[in-house]
């Protein structure tokens, strides 16, 4: 028997049906030159299944209207679809209520929103914000800007040689002036999955709220913001098999209620006079202007798609593939993996002797293999490991052992060129 979106029911468990999954992603049957595309840059962005593409075009072709404004039916239908998408994202992240989901442009905007609202109203001179060495630049720079403005101090939790967060150091850094911990759930350059639950416990023991950057985690594992206990959680739609230009911020309702608005404009107000403006309820208070309606609805379709495949089969498939790829890559002479934490998922960052990552990227591209090369917006991680850049293969639900074989085959070409 075959399940809804590509899982097979066997006598033991749901197993992901590679062929049926791949068929749903039109781009996967394309070629690069004369080679079939092998797409291994999922940490940068994932490909889109047909159901997301269809949802976007159906919205524009048949349902397009502005939301929260019209009394006519089309506008109400669009409003319902947009708010319905919010409910889907809330369910996907297991938030207790859709009002805890704010639509943003991406994860970056989610973090900046928290920095500019919660951060600016909470962090003062001499206060501290705690992040880690393995943060994406989007979870570093907003805090640097905030700290610079407020005369606050940014503290950085170090990581081990395997790429694990140092929890003892976290404890040592948490102090009476700590106002927020902002930490990545899963590193985009190392693959490390952080023990977010423990981080939250330690921070909450000192009454410090925690923001979690779930950009990478949310498409590889089941996220339950209530079980994690975090106060904010950001995701980005284009890494959830959804459209670009849409993301979401989960915020604990009590915090969102207390936060000042982010941007001013339409939709975020309940009444405006020149003397006094009152703001709308959350989450609308944080969504000024016409939002990316189609994007939000497309994101709703994307998280439904993920749910229909199921994290059971996705996690099992990606775990097998990660193990296969780890073995295959470590067997390549001169290859060294960067990021070997026991708790990791779906990312293989590596260096190859003294061949620069950029050269590796160009050469494997001629074989149709798309990987990322560079610092992956995590320069402090590169500095920590003393490398200028890495090559990175990152997996998604539609990748196969064959993709890994093609990558390994392409890497032998690097050897041919560089000798």
């Amino acid at each position: 028997m075959t399940g809804v979106a590509g899982t097979k029911t066997t006598h033991s468990a749901h197993v992901l049906d590679e062929t049926r999954i791949r068929e749903q992603f039109p781009i996967l049957s394309s070629t690069v030159g004369d080679r079939p595309l092998v797409y291994l840059d999922n940490a940068a962005t994932t490909q889109k299944p047909r159901v997301v593409l269809d949802t976007l075009s159906r919205y524009y072709a048949a349902e397009n209207a502005n939301i929260h404004r019209g009394v006519y039916q089309l506008s109400q239908a669009a409003t319902e679809a947009y708010e319905g998408a919010r409910a889907k994202v809330a369910r996907f992240l297991h938030a207790s209520d859709p009002s805890e989901i704010v639509f943003t442009r991406n994860a970056t905007e989610g973090i900046n929103l928290v920095a500019q609202t919660f951060g600016r109203s909470t962090v003062g001179a001499g206060d501290e914000v705690v992040i880690s060495t393995m943060e994406h630049h989007s979870n570093i720079v907003p805090w640097q800007l905030l700290c610079e403005e407020k005369g606050a101090v940014l503290k950085v939790v170090p990581i081990s040689d395997r790429g694990e967060l140092d929890l003892d150091e976290l404890d040592a850094l948490l102090g009476p002036r700590t106002k927020l911990v902002s930490i990545v759930h899963m590193s985009n350059s190392l693959g490390t999955v952080n023990p977010v639950r423990e981080v939250v416990e330690r921070a909450h023991a000192r009454n410090v709220p925690v923001l979690v950057d779930g950009s990478q985690a949310a498409y590889h594992m089941k996220v339950d913001v209530q079980a994690l206990g975090c106060d904010f959680y950001v995701v980005t739609g284009h890494k959830l098999y959804g459209p670009t230009g849409i993301g979401a911020l989960y915020g604990r309702r009590t915090l969102l209620d207390a936060m000042p608005p982010y941007q001013g404009g339409g939709d975020m107000i309940s009444s405006v006079t020149f003397e006094k403006t009152t703001y709308n309820e959350v989450p609308h208070k944080f969504e000024a202007g016409t939002p990316h309606i189609a994007g939000a609805i497309g994101l709703g379709a994307a998280v439904d798609f993920i749910a229909s495949v199921g994290f059971g089969p996705i996690v099992a498939h990606e775990r097998r593939l990660l193990e296969y790829a780890t073995n295959a890559l470590t067997a390549v002479p001169g290859l060294r993996l960067i990021g070997t934490a026991p708790q990791k998922a779906s990312i293989l960052s590596f260096v190859l002797d003294d061949v620069h990552a950029h050269d590796i990227g160009t050469i494997v591209d001629t074989e149709g293999v798309a990987i990322r090369t560079g610092h992956h917006c995590t320069q402090p991680v590169m500095d920590r490991f003393g490398v200028p850049a890495t090559a990175r293969a990152s997996l998604a639900m539609y990748n196969t052992a064959d993709d890994i074989d093609r990558l390994v085959g392409a890497l032998t070409k690097v050897r041919e060129v560089f000798g």
Partner: protein, 148 residues
Amino acid sequence: MSDLRDLYQEVILDHNRSPRNFGPLEGADLQADGHNPLCGDQLSIAVKVEDGVLTDVRFEGSGCAISKASASLMTEGVKGKSLDEARAIFEQFHRLVTDQEAPVDPSLGKLAVFAGVRDYPARVKCAILAWHTLRAAVDDNHDIVSTE
């Protein structure tokens, strides 16, 4: 896509393995730093100038094969040239790696090995970084050169 050997020519691989004029330059008259944030390439170029002539050019830093070889071959190519000649070679080199249609200028000599780069648009910045940095040095521009 054209053959990889058109990009990674033997001369380029050789200069990547053993870069010429690599290391610090004592008593440099002019110096500039270049950075390609996309791939983390970092170069610094130092020159000695006497009577408007580049009497010595050396470079330091790290980068991919294309950027390292380009810096290495550049130092050889401009040593002994006047500042104006160096600027003219910069322009020729720029055309060589960016203009798909341009015939390869024979006066470029060995530098012509970089013609293959024009078929790899993502790598143009790698080939050109050293040159932009040199130009900043000879123009005595102290901003860090960035390809972005």
